[in-house]
Assembly symmetry: C2
Homo-oligomer: 357 residues x 2
């Protein structure tokens, strides 16, 4: 493991991705100590040990009673590695890292993603199919929005979002990760907090939503994420033209996402199209993020990331333009880099849908 003596994993997606077991996010520490050689040990609250007895084939359980100190047990599990190179799970609460550092002052720390994220980023066939199923689930909802099946005009963003969230759960997901409904001028805020603004006629609405599918046996759930635009009536020429440029930029980004292409060049392929249309200054975020068991993970399609895409990388391609106080737009698909070229996992229409209901 690249000079690392042990991995320490707690909350976050690495642990369920590796083992099928998820630590509860709480003040009682559950932590897997995974040495470079030797058997993993799972330190966990004693009264939860009955939930994981079936995992004793692959790891030793080290239960701690309510009046014991789990930090000391992690240190004991590490043995001589407590003065070694340790990699801590990215999402582990800092309170535990601070306590571990006090307990083991000679250890050298790095983030576990240095080891794990490139593994997680290369999806195998089963993972790609899981992402495709998740994508098909949100595509159905996008189509329901585009065909006017979900009423929009006269309803609040929050009411519309509640409809979408219920449909995310009804379409193969275990949980909703986010649901942005940004209407009218709110569409100019990329991470708009969906609120009580009522949708009017003659304005754009930006939708960006996704969730995590249910676990299957010990396989964790996988994430969906898509963005589509609707105009409540005929759009002004200025918006329609900008949207066409956005659509071309998104196409260019997808086409550029081939195995071996540096991540930042995929970003610039899309960005160039918007810049040439005079919209470059309004595209204020990176082109995309990796996706898998986590909604955002490696690889990131962003200036400065010169790592080439590998077969099995899955990521969003989501250019946008945001003109403060006026309007904005984004189109987003999940794409997989394959040896046969980029494969889109979102396939609802990319046209600007006109919905007058």
């Amino acid at each position: 493991m690249q000079g690392i003596d042990a991995l320490l994993l707690s909350v976050g997606p690495d642990l369920p991705w590796l083992t099928g077991f998820a630590a509860m996010a709480m003040e009682r520490l559950s932590m897997l100590v995974l040495p470079a050689e030797g058997r993993p040990q799972l330190i966990l609250p004693a009264f939860e040990a009955d939930l994981v007895h079936d995992r004793e084939a692959v790891m030793d359980l080290v239960p701690w009673a309510e009046t014991e100190d789990p930090i000391a047990l992690v240190s004991r599990s590490l043995g001589a590695h407590r003065a070694g190179n340790l990699a801590i799970g990215d999402h582990t609460w800092s309170r535990f890292l601070v306590a571990l550092q006090a307990e083991m002052p000679d250890a050298r720390w790095q983030q576990a993603s240095n080891v794990i994220s490139s593994l997680r980023a290369q999806k195998d066939a089963a993972e790609i199919e899981a992402l495709a199923r998740a994508g098909a689930g949100v595509d159905r909802i996008a189509a329901e929005l585009q065909t006017g099946e979900i009423p929009l005009i006269g309803r609040s963003e929050l009411a519309i979002a509640a409809d979408i969230e219920a449909r995310i759960l009804a379409n193969g997901h275990r949980k909703v990760n986010f649901c942005i409904v940004a209407s009218g001028p709110n569409s100019s805020s990329p991470h708009h907090h969906t609120g009580d603004r009522v949708v009017q006629s003659g304005e754009p609405i930006l939708f960006d939503f996704g969730g995590t599918t249910a676990e299957v046996d010990d396989a964790p759930g996988y994430c969906s994420d898509t963005s589509r635009m609707i105009f409540t009536g005929e759009p002004p020429v200025e918006f329609a033209e900008a949207y066409s440029a956005l659509q071309a930029a998104q196409e260019a980004g997808v086409r550029a996402a081939t195995v071996g292409t540096a991540a930042e060049l995929v970003d610039s392929a899309a960005r160039t199209v918007l810049t040439e249309a005079g919209l470059g200054q309004y595209f204020t975020h990176r082109l995309g993020h990796g996706i898998g068991v986590e909604a955002h993970e490696d690889p990131y399609l962003v200036g400065g990331n010169d790592r080439p895409l590998a077969a099995g990388n899955a990521f969003s391609v989501e250019p946008g333009f945001y003109i403060a106080g006026k309007w904005g737009a984004r189109i987003e698909d999940i794409v997989v880099a394959t040896d046969e070229g980029p494969r889109r996992l979102n396939n609802s229409s990319h046209e600007l849908a006109i919905v007058e209901a």
Copy 2:
């Protein structure tokens, strides 16, 4: 601030509790740098800055563009304090702490809860009323279970939990934090994962559920948490007797929870009753946890915690017994220590409810 030069707060409840602003849990860092003296600075993604412009009266915004390094901006905001005593928010992702430590090798780190948790633990009148409203919400659901309004026999734990979760949201909560439905032998697992077991006649069911209420203006939401027991038919004498001891233990715990009493003595007041009934070995967890904007927070009612309760402390009192593979039980109320004595915030019946539907 107790020798601390600056607080660094990101995800988790401290930031919204202090400021009303919550950082998104994601790979893009949002972090408030709060020096012991001087103006706070909020480092955040540039394209989210429009969401917080209304906070510029109380903090400076330090937006970072997608190709900038937020860690370097945090270090710059700290100035000379980058070699000082820094307290990091307990839930901050370790990847950010590891990166901050590499950027500022001379800093000394501790957890922010050393400063904040005793402040958060002393609830003011408005916070206590918010907790009481949350408690009244779940009490209504407990009563609906106890009166048989929610069908049990012949339904799976998950189906019953879905009913309860919908009612949590319908009773003043913005989100469900957990919903344990543990039937028959599953009741012997304190943190049972609610599953597809179908409820039978003639067995105990342990319910433990709670959520977080909606934010009001800039005030964050507050949590509820209650546990009640139902028997689907007449209980065997052995169970009924153990339940009576549990009820007495819970009463003893609540009565002991007076201002000035050491937290561990509240635990032992309840534990002694169960021990005298021969059930001490089956009470495998601490008596309780503090509650507020977070479902579990200080003070913890556990052996080894000799800190005296203060007026305004809010916490659970939740003794239980768990006999592996057979059955278990728990009764839980949220209680506030006040100068007039302990005040229960959960007031549904503490009796063992008999429900035959």
